[in-house]
């Protein structure tokens, strides 16, 4: 049950609408590593050259989690019962990077000191979701600094359609896509 909460309530991402501004990467590293360095961020934006689009690669906190299963040290990783987040405990971690290899989404990053950097949902209020300007990564029940407006209003009409078609094909029906598409 906790895992379902994590997937649907705390943290979501809608690829295809990402603008590649890197706010999430920079804020993540600032929040967790104390300095602005995208190489120390716990998520990553990938650019797809072919379609000129960006995809935020974020941890899905899978259930069951392949990274957790692959970890050879029992104390090094655990699931937080409150948020459903799987976190790496740096003290116990032996830096074997088995989790990095096990992740099917390549969502665990390798930092400058060859340590595994994994999202732990910032204790339930992820900073990336708080500030993502196009609201690609978002927490549905958390306050958001921008007016509560759909990001679909800011994209080209065909982008919105492609995005919606994609989402429907995958079986997702996010609530804000249901509404009427508004032409600018």
């Amino acid at each position: 049950m906790t895992a379902a909460v994590a997937r649907t309530k705390v943290f979501r991402a809608e690829p295809g609408l990402c603008t590649g501004c890197g706010m999430c990467e920079m804020l993540c590293s600032l929040n967790r590593a104390g300095r602005i360095n995208v190489h120390q961020a716990r998520l990553r934006i990938t650019r797809l050259e072919k379609t000129d689009s960006f995809v935020p690669v974020i941890c899905r906190h899978c259930h069951p989690a392949p990274c957790h299963q692959a970890c050879p040290v029992p104390e090094a990783m655990s699931r937080d019962p409150a948020t459903g987040a799987i976190a790496i405990h740096e003290k116990e971690c032996i830096r074997c990077l088995a989790c990095v290899e096990a992740c099917p989404f390549a969502a665990i990053q390798v930092g400058p000191q060859k340590e595994a950097l994994k999202c732990d949902l910032c204790g339930g209020d992820p900073i990336c979701a708080r500030y993502c300007p196009p609201r690609v990564i978002y927490s549905p029940d958390k306050p958001y600094p921008w007016p509560q407006k759909s990001c679909l209003e800011y994209v080209a009409p065909h982008e919105a359609t492609t995005h919606r078609r994609q989402m429907t094909a995958e079986g997702h029906r996010p609530e804000y896509v249901e509404g009427q598409r508004r032409r600018p």
Binding site: T19, G22, S53, Y154, H158
Partner: protein
């Protein structure tokens, strides 16, 4: 110092590389970014005669980015290139966005000072602490895309950002540009020409060091303040998100700011307007939107894709993908040349980008030749002589414009040679050739082209163009007062909303001066002027001061920040004073001065009616001498610029 990088100095003649941290006193004085860039230029030309040829090895190319660039402050990242301009032969600087600046800052360098001249083509590779000058003979003669690809192959990684030049810079076309990230252009003043004259093809950079933030908690509060400001002006914010600067097309159509057919008419004819409007772009060919640089909250960049059935000529460009043009590209390559077709204009824009040219000057050159064709001054015999084959230069001829761009960049025929030094020199040469008055049709300012838009009925905009320190454009002092009718800003500056009255010259010169003292704040901080507009009400300087303190620990009051910005404006002016520029050099081209506007909102307006008056007011509000246009010793000392006043006094440049 926390939050600041260091200054990297590279001498291409000897290959010597050194770096040193920025002294705190310099940061206090000029904040960073454009400010410190200008100081470095000033410092360089204390040792070197400022009157040198801009293409000589003694010229300097300075790249710089301010303390809030490449941070999640949310203003985007904009870097500044500063040099002595070959296009205008005076102070030159140019801004570009893109990831290049961010990587430079993340590699630990805020400023890169490039001097000397390499003996063979080279490029610079900056990988955190390792700085190398590498051979670029394989990339020489290639366009921007190919250069980008070849350098990535040479370095064996895709994780680098590259700023380089195309063929135009190599061939020393005076208005060639540096192109960062393959499509972010530092367009004005001929930055690419300076780079080419140093035999420098590109700079590649990768930064993995990152940045420190002095007080992360306060920094987040500053970000919240910026988002709050953006939310209060949601209409403008949404317009930028949707259209970028293209949103101006429709607005200028209403107020008469579009320079249709070489600025003969202030509006695009009704039947031609639709295919050039932002709405058409968005509904027909817009493909994606993204942020050009890290930390941008608005993401106005984008790409488009042509299917082939959108417009009458679109079939020629079926399958073409390109980068969303800015308003100025559209104005130069579409409106000035009368090409009322977005895909055709997009093709020209892509050529200009690949060759590494400045679309503004290209547009002015094409516009001039097309108008001369319309007036029968140049004929098919001339184009046959210049190109080797006859070419019709009638309005809206995409093929003619494309051929002109190719010949300018590749310099293989006489047409290219004619247009190599810009529109002003070309008009002068044509005047000699044809012994007919031609200069009066050209759009120029201080020896290069001004921004291609109608200014006659906007006195503060026109004043900005006339007095601009880097040639002729409005970006040194975004005089939004009359063009955008900002009564609130007028009230804030002067306590008199009349300063924003359209078709009126009250306080317009003053507005230009005040805006010119304010704008450097944005440029010094390294953020984008599209996000934090030149708007002291919605984006008050005290918010920037808070962000600056959070990022770097340097405490600035609002007054100190404004004073630093004024210092930068004065330093740019001082550099030009050393080159011998005086009040009489602050002028507009003949078309804007003496030819009344043909139609529309500002019908009958011409700049000669008010320019001297607004200029008087402009110098007065700057605290400069009205008669000569020189800075006064009193003003300079008040700003703490005694050393600069000394240098100027030695050369008779202080009133």
């Amino acid at each position: 110092m926390t939050g600041y990088g260091s200054i990297l100095r590279i001498d291409l003649t000897s290959g010597k590389v050194s770096s040193a941290p920025i002294p705190e006193e310099l940061c206090r004085r000029f904040v960073g970014g454009a400010g410190i860039n200008t100081w470095l230029l000033w410092e360089h030309f204390l040792k070197v005669d400022p009157r040198i040829d801009p293409l000589s090895a003694d010229n300097v190319l300075i790249a710089g980015i301010g303390p809030l660039g490449a941070t999640p402050y949310g203003g985007g990242t904009k870097m500044k290139w500063t040099f002595k301009s070959p296009a205008y032969n005076m102070y030159g600087d140019s801004t570009c966005g893109g990831h290049f600046g961010a990587q430079l800052r993340w590699a630990g360098y805020d400023h890169v000072v490039i001097t000397g001249k390499a003996s063979k083509p080279v490029y610079i590779w900056i990988d955190d602490d390792t700085v190398e000058v590498r051979d670029a003979s394989r990339m020489w003669g290639r366009d921007v895309d190919e250069t980008d690809h070849l350098i990535k192959m040479d370095l064996g990684t895709k994780e680098v950002e590259i700023a380089g030049i195309g063929q135009a810079g190599e061939n020393l076309v005076t208005y060639a540009s540096i192109i960062a990230d393959r499509h972010r252009v530092a367009g004005r003043g001929g930055s690419g020409c300076v780079m080419g004259s140093k035999n420098l093809k590109a700079i590649a950079v990768r930064g993995a060091k990152g940045l420190e933030v002095s007080d992360p908690k306060a920094f987040m509060n500053a970000l919240d303040l910026l988002i709050g400001s953006l939310n209060t002006m949601s209409r403008e914010r949404d317009a930028i998100k949707l259209y970028g600067t293209l949103r101006l097309t429709a607005y200028y159509q209403r107020v008469g700011g579009n320079a249709w057919r070489n600025c003969q008419f202030p509006q695009i004819p009704e039947e031609n307007f639709n295919p050039l409007s932002q709405r058409w772009y968005r509904d027909h060919i817009a493909y994606s939107s993204y942020s050009c640089s890290p930390g941008c909250l608005l993401s106005c960049s984008g790409t488009y894709k042509v299917k082939g059935n959108e417009s009458p000529t679109a079939h020629k460009f079926a399958g073409m993908k390109g980068y969303k043009p800015e308003y100025l590209s559209l104005a130069s390559l579409g409106i000035m040349t009368g090409i009322a077709d977005f895909p055709a204009m997009g093709d020209l824009n892509d050529r200009v980008r690949k060759y590494g040219l400045d679309c503004v000057e290209v547009g002015a050159c094409c516009g001039l030749l097309m108008e001369l064709w319309q007036r029968g001054i140049i004929t098919e015999a001339d184009t046959r002589e210049w190109l080797g084959a006859p070419l019709s230069l009638e309005w809206g001829n995409h093929d003619a414009a494309a051929r002109m761009i190719d010949s300018i960049a590749l310099q293989k025929n006489r047409m290219g040679n004619l247009l190599k030094a810009g529109v002003y020199k070309a008009a002068q040469r044509l005047e000699e050739l044809k012994s007919a008055p031609i200069l009066k049709y050209a759009l120029y300012g201080k020896g290069g082209s001004p921004f291609n838009e109608e200014v006659r009925q906007f006195p503060s905009w026109a004043t900005n163009m006339a007095v601009s320190s880097r040639g002729a454009d409005h970006l040194k002092g975004l005089g939004t007062l009359d063009k955008f009718n900002r009564r609130d800003i007028a009230q804030h500056y002067f306590g008199d909303p009349k300063a924003a009255e359209p078709l009126d010259i009250t306080l317009k010169g003053a507005g230009s001066a005040v805006a010119e003292n304010y704008t450097p704040i944005v440029n010094c901080l390294g953020v984008c002027t599209f996000v934090v507009d030149v708007d002291p009400i919605n984006f008050p300087p005290r918010n920037f001061a808070l962000a600056l303190k959070a990022a770097t620990g340097l405490e600035f009051t609002e007054q100190e920040l404004l004073a630093a910005a004024e210092r930068v404006a004065n330093l740019e002016k001082a550099f030009n004073t050393r080159l011998g520029l005086r009040r009489e050099d602050d002028k507009l081209c003949e078309r804007w001065l003496n030819e009344p506007e043909a139609q529309g909102y500002g019908k009958g307006w011409k700049a000669a009616d008010y320019l001297e008056k607004t200029k008087d007011e402009y110098y007065e509000y700057h605290g400069w001498d009205k008669k000569t246009g020189l800075q006064t010793r009193k003003k300079l000392e008040q700003l703490g610029m005694q050393d600069i006043a000394e240098v100027l006094a030695r050369e008779g440049g202080v009133a």
